[in-house]
Symmetry: C2
Subunit: 142 residues, 2 copies
DNA sequence: TATTGTTATACTCTATAACTATA
DNA sequence: TATAGTTATAGAGTATAACAATA
């Protein structure tokens, strides 16, 4: 019995997404930084300073987990931890310049890697992906 | 200075791939199994029995890392380890029926999740993604 | 009393270095 | 001697439970 059928193109698309993503995530700054740490740096780059709680919600991990990750980032000099002025229970996590650099350099490398992949395509194929991009983006955000 | 420009659709596509992949990987069997373990089970499902060395190369982790992951899978009853008949240094890792079930159930759930996502689209949008699928698949495999 | 964060503890994944067994 | 795998050890991410500090 075949595992499943449906539209075989769905499976091509699904597997392509998984594989491209896996390869893209290998592209990153030379700094000694893990996936979880990078993910936090991207949040700080995009959305500015965060509390520990907001980071743990954003990344969908428990507060103790995020606390550990933040500790590693502090030790590496990529973020600072300071107590919130308005609410003494909260802490504010800020990216340092070095931390922002790691995030930006990683973004740059991923963009460059993806651009090189796209260079394999002819104009028609590029046009097809240009048409697909907003649709996939909407699915990803929904 | 803007971070980068190039084709903004490239970035939409790139980010869509990262996000869709992240959400897809959350879909999995209810069995208590990690990402690394799942990845091994998928290799065994698709390509049959493997040695420890071939698994570690395939997943691009060191042999000691793979050894640990395999130990966990053995403890969970999802794979068996036996010595290779032709070369006493090698071990053969086979998926058990339970292990194959975990892989198949995970695949099923990911297909189902992705199919639900695609149901949001109209016929024209579906056609665009159908045209994009083989192109992305080729990029992923290149 | 409720909220925010931290500490204690435990398990998995990752690595490098050193070791065993077989070819 | 070279190869395949394992063990020892250590750092990082994940979790739950228990604790401290503040609102």
């Amino acid at each position: 019995m075949p595992d499943q059928q449906g539209n075989p193109l769905d499976d091509d698309l699904r597997l392509a997404i998984l594989r491209l993503s896996r390869r893209m995530r290998l592209q990153r700054s030379d700094a000694d930084v893990t996936d979880s740490q990078l993910s936090v740096l991207f949040v700080l780059l995009k959305e500015g300073p965060q509390t520990l709680g907001s980071l743990s919600e954003h990344e969908r991990v428990t507060p103790p987990s995020m606390n550990r990750t933040v500790n590693c980032l502090v030790d590496a000099g990529f973020v600072t931890r300071s107590s919130s002025p308005d609410d003494g229970r909260k802490v504010q996590i800020d990216a340092t310049l070095a931390g922002l650099d790691v995030a930006r350099e990683t973004k740059r490398r991923r963009q460059a890697w993806f651009a090189r992949q796209l260079e394999q395509l002819d104009a028609t194929e590029r046009a097809t992906l240009d048409a697909a991009a907003p649709i996939l983006r909407r699915l990803a955000d929904s």
